[in-house]
């Protein structure tokens, strides 16, 4: 069966272009594959954690992006948990640079899926940055693996984290808790959660 594009054929009179596709020469609709799910900006009172809940299974991967600061004087990191699991079902490894030396570190049977860099209270206006990927988060046939890049620079000190983590659970991830290793998140700390669709 032929397909005709009436907007340019001038009706069904000949000559006209006979297409074999219903696209009729138009480009295929290419929907976004990167979707905003939710975001949180910490208010003036600070916050002990940030949670993303009721995450649907509509995507293939998740990504968290943010800027981070802690209310403590010397806090170093933020941590991640899934589905409110506080048991020792996690592990992580990381490469760490502090500006003078590089080191590697890891923990097995820990209660969080990786540590990211955090700015802290004395650093006026400076926040760390984070990109954190949760791959195949809804797959119920395998444990969940994450990876992240985060860092901060204080013009004379700072650090950079390149890390991966594992959650030994086959449940689909439906909630994510992000919390500092001590004290609270400071005002203007922001996390945004995105869903990435596969083909």
């Amino acid at each position: 069966m032929g397909v005709y594009k009436l907007s340019t054929a001038g009706g069904l009179a000949t000559p006209r272009t006979n297409y074999s596709s219903f696209l009729a020469g138009n480009p295929a609709f290419d929907p976004d594959s990167f979707f905003p799910i939710a975001s949180t900006t910490v208010g003036s009172g600070g916050s002990s954690n940030v949670e993303f809940t009721s995450i649907t299974a509509d995507y293939t991967h998740l990504q968290i992006r943010g800027i981070i600061k802690n209310t403590a004087n010397n806090s170093e990191s933020v941590r991640f948990r899934f589905n409110s699991d506080t048991n020792t079902n996690y592990s992580f490894h990381r490469l760490f640079g502090d500006g003078s030396s590089a080191s590697a570190y890891g923990e097995a049977n820990t209660s969080y899926a990786g540590e990211a860099s955090s700015s802290n209270s004395p650093q006026t206006n400076i926040f760390s940055a984070l990109v954190y990927d949760i791959l195949d988060y809804k797959n119920t046939n395998k444990y969940k693996t994450v990876r992240g890049l985060s860092g901060k620079d204080f013009n004379g000190s700072g650090n950079i984290f390149l890390f991966s983590g594992n959650w030994r659970n086959t449940n689909a991830i439906t909630s994510i808790t992000i919390y500092p290793n001590s004290d609270n998140f400071a005002q203007y700390t922001q996390f945004a959660l995105y869903g990435i669709k596969g083909s």
């Binding site: 594959s33 939710a38 003078s100 400076i126 760390s128």
Partner: protein, 168 residues
């Protein structure tokens, strides 16, 4: 209305240029992602850096980690007039250098701007991988990015694409 992950601009050089500029960047997004595969006219001295909003004052600093294939290292620089997003990586005369720079919350006027860079040199002089946290000590929204090829130039075939990401 902006898409969630939208290409803002892309440049493929057809001639030699000492700089590549993305200007009039709107504040419609939350984060910026700059993806590049540049080529240099000469590798020696092609340590790429950026500047935001035309600022050539000493407001940039960085902390980095690198792997050379035989060792890991970390270093930093402070009070620099160049926003280096590398430490030892140099743009090569082939396409062996590539990089991705994340600039989170680039348009807020409350905080200084922290950016994360991942760069690689797959061959040529000193193959290595690097990750870097950079800081621009300014609360201004970023509306311009100028990329420099160190003391050299980018040549034809170099590609640079700037994306914007919009949060919920």
């Amino acid at each position: 209305m902006a898409s969630t992950y939208e290409k803002i601009a892309t440049t493929t050089l057809s001639s030699t240029q000492s700089t590549v500029t993305f200007s009039s960047i709107s504040s419609a997004y939350t984060d910026l992602v700059l993806v590049m595969n540049p080529i240099a006219n000469t590798a020696s001295g092609s340590y790429p850096y950026l500047r935001f909003n035309g600022d050539s004052s000493t407001n940039y600093s960085r902390t980095m980690i690198a792997g050379t294939g035989s060792a890991a290292e970390s270093d930093r620089s402070s009070n620099s007039s160049e926003g280096y997003f590398i430490y030892g990586n140099q743009v090569q005369t082939d396409s062996a250098f590539n990089g991705i720079i994340n600039i989170n919350n680039y348009s807020n006027t409350t905080t200084y701007k922290t950016f994360l860079a991942r760069t690689n040199v797959a061959s040529g002089t000193g193959p290595r991988v690097e990750a870097l946290a950079g800081l621009w000590r300014s609360t201004s929204a970023i509306n311009q990015i100028v990329l420099h090829c160190g003391s050299n130039s980018f040549v034809s075939g170099s590609t640079f694409t700037l994306y914007g990401i919009l949060k919920a």
